[in-house]
């Protein structure tokens, strides 16, 4: 989990949750084998058939803007994407991603790489390495890293019988 290596799929700015999983599908089922067929459909209609396990999405500003639908990070994770690196994220998408165990980092990488490039993402160090270049990002806050390492909020609760933010601060 701390070091992820993968091939890049690059997207632009303002990739909304409507582009990630159009509303017309999400109201009919919560079967993710079905929903994941439409992952990123609004931005790239053939994405789900091209993406491979371990690939990484790199995007511009405001990734995941729009509706609060948690189906958005889940379909991305379900098709095998191991992380999303964007210049910035919409707030609800950011929370949802950690809650379902998908690492997301805010890093100004999109202008320096292209679809098909490989990157190495060092989550705890706050570094992305691409073609020998190192790009720094603000490390993920500790309590979110804990949720991520527990496998998301559901497994976190199962493991600890409570939520980390309820514990007395040290």
């Amino acid at each position: 989990m701390n070091v992820l290596k993968g091939k890049i799929w690059k997207f632009g700015d303002d990739i909304s949750t409507d582009l990630i999983i159009p509303g017309k599908y999400k109201f009919k089922t919560i079967d993710f084998n079905e929903l994941a067929k439409h992952a990123m459909e609004g931005a790239d209609p053939t994405f789900s058939s091209k993406v491979s396990k371990g690939d990484i999405i790199v995007a511009g500003e405001n990734f995941g803007c729009g509706s609060s639908r948690e189906q958005a990070p889940v379909v991305i994770k379900h098709v095998g994407v191991s992380a999303v690196v964007a210049k910035s994220f919409a707030r609800i998408f950011y929370r949802n991603a950690f809650n379902i165990g998908l690492p997301v980092v805010e890093c100004d990488l999109a202008d320096h790489i292209n679809t098909g490039d490989f990157i190495e993402l060092r989550l705890t160090e706050g570094k992305v390495i691409s073609a020998g270049n190192v790009y720094a990002f603000k490390p993920i806050p500790d309590f979110l890293m804990t949720i991520l390492q527990d496998g998301g909020l559901v497994d976190h609760y199962k493991k600890r019988g409570g939520f980390i933010w309820e514990e007395p601060t040290k």
Partner: protein, 414 residues
Amino acid sequence: MGMTLAEKIISRKIGREPSPGEIVVLSIDAAMAHDGTAPLMIKSFEAMGAKGVWSREKAAFVIDHISPSSNEGTSGLHKMMREFAKQYGIMLYDVGEGICHQILPEKGYVFPGGVVVGADSHTCTHGAFAAFSTGIGSTDMAAVFASGKLWFKVPETLKVNITGDMPANVMSKDAVIYSIGKVGADGATYMAVEFTGDSVKRMSMDSRMTMTNMAIEMGGKTGLIASDNTTKGFLQGRIGVPFVELAGDKDASYKAILEIDAAELEPQLSCPHQVDNVKPVSELEGMQVDQVFIGSCTNGRMEDLRIAAKVLNGNKVMARTIIMPASREVMIKAIQEGLIEELVKAGCAVGVPGCGPCVGGHHGVPSVGENVISTTNRNFKGRMGCAEADIYLASPLTAANAALNGKLVVPKGV
């Protein structure tokens, strides 16, 4: 140092002054999930093995997005919600009751100083009542249902100060679309957006809710408006806690301030396919319009329906027009005032209170190449169910004038 309205609400909860960027844990006063988000919330809640719902009174489900259901798959998800609500003894507002963001204030869940979470991004609407109210995802909501608490980052605040008298053909929708155009779709990410100024002070609750509803369209965590006599008037007889007046302090520290001279505003449009792609209606005057939708949590209230009926004034619509009241309460009032009869006679298709065509899930889907004028809050590609349709967001006044003329015209005041 004074506090912003967001800081003030949080300080009342935690018993001290919070600082922006700090993570705080807040007790929740109302929590809501709807048919787009509750099924996943139930799945997470059950997977957690949570023992029960923390409060029967503060938790609620609403079936509004695909309402009534249009297909077997959705019906199965609705059934799952009804069974969960019955099992845990929580309230479920079923088909025909209306849109979650209209129901919560009407039914007394929202009050000044309260903390409201909804598994819906437009939960920022409730900040119109000086509540700290924000959208969260399904698994966060499962955590709230289990524990009654959630973590929040204390937001910085963008102040949108609207002063002066609006021209007669300008509504609060135009002011908020204009603001989004200035701030950008992510200009207020993680921030609270506090609407202030004498123009806001004079607005009805209906108009105020339109603005806080769209705070998320500039990235805002919540939209906020000080509570005053207008707020009190709406909440009287609905809430079970004492009403308090809350406002941001004059010497509070704001991240940024956007000043808007209301007198200078003209009717606005959000053009395809981004809400921050803003142009005045005058620039696109004459554009052919295929479908008009008046409704949603943005503009499906009495004020909006009254304006639509007034504009149509006994004439037939020239573009197909769908109208959906935001709630059963709104629909009943509109029936009593005779508005529904007027709108139906004018040729409008008036539907069941709910989200309707806004979400593109079950009806009112436009076709390829069609232009839609909609009073809703999002015009993303594919939003209304057809990726090849162009959606323009506008005020109910502009939308009703488009319906009347079959094309876009700069409206006159009514």
